[in-house]
């Protein structure tokens, strides 16, 4: 990775005062193409490389730079100077010698390929929604290359292809409404057009009249997208960092059976099914699958080097920086790569058919303010379709799901074989996926 070359060279001849050092570079090379109401727009091409540097004397300091012209020695010395006010009187742990490259020098798909896919998607949507008042499609392909070198001989790189597709459709005939969908994939060819067309067809079937008799405890089907929105925050509860600070309702409960036996929550860092995998984390630790919950049992936590050391175990390869919307990007915390509620074997149609008197929660909003990760309490604004006598009886808007996540996970009785995948908003640092679930009861309020 050429952006790391100068840092690689300096690792064998560190500036005075620096005992150990490490530089990690993350390069995001993106192209985008899209359609707005059938016309080409939103074209973009970009590359941004960020370099994270740690330098240790008695203590370890950190700096981050996007200035690729900066002198590496000066950058290392700046990092070391930053260590001065740290109160931990020991250097941070760094990984030792592993030399590995995945050897994949990937090339971008062409912009024409992206546009062709956008046109294919647009055509498929127009077969379902012939006259939208507005339709916007954007496809972005990111070649993410990560490299890390340090003075202990660590030298690793990998490249991943991540393709993200967003669709926004507005209709104003009869009722003014709008639907926004996003998903990620590992290739342009892998963009799941059927995911969008299924959701669009489902959206059109939503009854337009409101049914206000929907409060109280009801059995429910939660769409995979709704579960994804929960997971975008809920993963924090299984982070070694949060656990060690007692900022999770599951503190002290490792090894206990807490949830439905159908619930397996895992971080899966490498799969050909999707793009947000990684071979190693931002500390150079090899990523591995982490089953935080297996068959309902709270099994393990996601760790970086520091939290693993505190727990007396190995890092799981979950070091990362962009934890939430306003992370500062410099601090190493714990993040997932691809956090998922593992697929089940049930069919979503069977779940809906089971709803004699219940609700199908088809869409939820505001993934970041509805769940308190210390208590597990949630209040999630959403939309649903009321089911009565086994049939859709009306759309309900302006409702909220209220309860505690531990109870929700305990009450899951079916997990579907579908899958929805969404990436972390804005930071694009990880993604989550989930299947639709049938829950014995949820509390609904209006």
């Amino acid at each position: 990775m050429k952006e790391l070359e100068a840092y690689r060279n300096i690792m064998t001849d560190l500036p005075e005062g620096i005992l150990e050092a490490e530089a990690e570079a993350e390069k995001n090379d993106r192209i985008s193409a899209g359609l707005i109401d059938g016309s080409v727009s939103g074209m973009s091409a970009s590359d941004k490389t960020a370099i994270f540097v740690r330098a240790s004397g008695r203590k370890t300091g950190t700096t981050y730079t996007q200035n690729l012209e900066a002198d590496p020695a000066e950058v290392l010395l700046e990092a070391l100077a930053n260590a001065k006010y740290g109160q931990e009187e020991k250097p941070e742990i760094m990984n030792s010698a592993v030399k590995m490259s995945d050897g994949k020098d990937r090339e971008h798909a062409s912009l024409e390929t992206l546009l062709q896919k956008a046109e294919e998607l647009e055509k498929a949507i127009r077969e379902i929604v012939p006259e939208p008042s507005h339709m916007e499609i954007l496809i972005t392909e990111n070649l993410r290359t990560v490299g890390i070198v340090n003075s202990l001989g660590l030298d690793r790189t990998y490249t991943r292809r991540i393709v993200e597709t967003s669709l926004q459709v507005t209709m104003e005939k009869d009722v003014h409404r709008s639907l926004e969908l996003e998903t990620s994939a590992g290739t342009v060819a892998g963009i799941p057009v059927s995911y969008f067309t299924k959701k669009m067809a489902e959206w059109l079937l939503w009854p337009l009249h409101n049914n206000s008799s929907t409060v109280g405890a009801l059995p429910a089907v939660l769409d995979g997208g709704v579960v994804c929105n929960i997971l975008l925050t809920a993963w924090l509860m299984f982070s070694g960092y949060q656990y060690q600070r007692q900022n999770t309702p599951f503190y002290g409960k490792l090894g206990e059976k807490l949830f439905s036996p159908l619930v397996t929550l895992s971080d899966i860092p490498d799969s050909s099914d999707y793009g947000y995998g990684r071979s190693f984390d931002c500390e150079g630790s090899t990523c591995r699958r982490v089953d935080v919950v297996k068959d309902g049992i709270f099994k393990e936590l996601m760790h970086n080097l520091a939290t693993a050391a505190s727990a007396g175990c190995e890092s799981t390869g979950n070091a990362g920086r962009d934890v939430n919307l306003i992370s500062d990007q410099t601090e190493v915390r714990v993040i997932p790569s691809h956090f998922t509620l593992c697929r089940g074997s049930s069919k979503k149609e069977d779940m809906l058919n089971r709803l004699e008197d219940g609700i199908y929660i088809c869409e939820s909003f505001d993934m970041f303010h509805c769940l308190n990760t210390a208590s597990g309490d949630y209040t999630i604004p959403c939309k649903g379709i009321r089911y009565q006598k086994g049939k859709p009886a009306g759309m309900v808007e302006g409702i909220t799901l209220n309860g505690n996540l531990a109870d929700l996970l305990k009450d899951i009785e079916m997990v579907a074989d579908d899958k929805t995948t969404v990436s972390m908003v804005m930071s694009k640092s990880f993604e989550v996926s989930a299947s639709s679930v049938y829950v014995k009861k949820v509390n609904i309020s209006m």
């Binding site: 410099t330 505001d366 604004p381």
Partner: protein, 459 residues
Amino acid sequence: MVNKEQMQSILLRALQGGGDFAELFFEERDDTIIGCRDGVVDGIKTKHIYGVGLYVLKEVRSVYVYSNHTSYEDLLTLAEKAALMTQAGINNRTNQNLRLTEQSFHNPNVVIEYPSSVSNQDKVKVVTKAYKSAKSASSMLLSADLTYYDMDRRILIANSEGLFTGDRRITSRLRMGITCGDTGSRYFYGEDYTRPQGYEAFRENEEYLEFAKELVLRTDRMHKAKSITPSVMPVVLTAGSCGTLWHESCGHALEATAISARNSHFVDKIGKKIASSKVTLIDDGTMPGYYGSGAIDDEGHKTQKNILIENGILKSYLCDRLHGRMLGYESTGNGRRENYTFAPEARMTNTYLAAGNDDEEEMIRSVPEGLYVKSLGGGFGGMQFSIEVKEGFLIKNGQIDRQVKGIMLTGNGAEVIQKIDRVGKTVGYDDGGFCGAGSGLVPVTTMQPMVRISEMSLG
């Protein structure tokens, strides 16, 4: 850094694909970040953002490219890429007489102590003193994560209309994440103390210490509050930062990005009555001492005061250049972006409901059963909006009663703003925070006088 003549060449090269407008956006930003986890300072971190974005418009089509390779040769290559993406392979001769003329605009936020002039020792003191203040507040404190931030952001904009301008924005912030509770239960809450100032935000007064203490006490009270049966009732929101109501219920829906996508109830409604006659809503990026203010927006347009709704009548949308074009409007000085990796979009700055004439005490006294909201958390805007109630209290028989928790205000924004039946006399201040949308995180404030909504769903 390339010089002015080189910028002219780059812009002209970018226009060779047939574009009618091109803009270079240079950014350099230096941040200092100091973390303190349960009283242990984990050192200083420094962050340097550096890069350039190039925007090309052809009527209502757009191309955006960016990089942090910023040599003249790199930028010419970037411009060629943009030109090719604008219109594949067509070389159009454009106006070769582009001349960049420097313009400067006054930033309403005055800075006294620039971050680079302050010792790290003094900055570390902010988190250590704030932690001591937090710790002294309550024995129910389980953990406190404090982070000090200062930011020095310099932007430079050059465009094919000859504009050459820039701005320097300094902010300071103390982020606090507090967990209160006991072995049985715990509750987490986070909030920011923000100032569009340099270090004088901490040196000249110690409001941040009071903020730290109060935050712990508030978190403890929120932890102990009980939930309520969800229902529909009148809601009174106190003056100040409860203005988030306007940000989420209609602010985003008035941004040209939403209007041009027809993803708003306010499409084609200019001149029509869309809200209660008591509602006059303003967005103003020129206000001194406010987090959302600046000399210019991120397209070089001077910031301005925009009256969005006046006595219930829709007067204006918030426009950036591109989305204003789509709608046939000029920019309103609201083209904003988090950094050079984003194309600008229409975003709010300092958004507030103008003061009215109603008596604040009567607003509560005349409510037999309702909700009084003292503070709001984050939310989500759109045709359907939601906002987290952080500190809410029941109103019973015209009196403020017990504290409650776990409430979201949800609704259809277009309906809610028609149900404003009281607007108080004094607009309260808001420190400000961040709004996240298509062009990233931008600093904003949201303010209001005390208001009452005649009825609203509480979930």
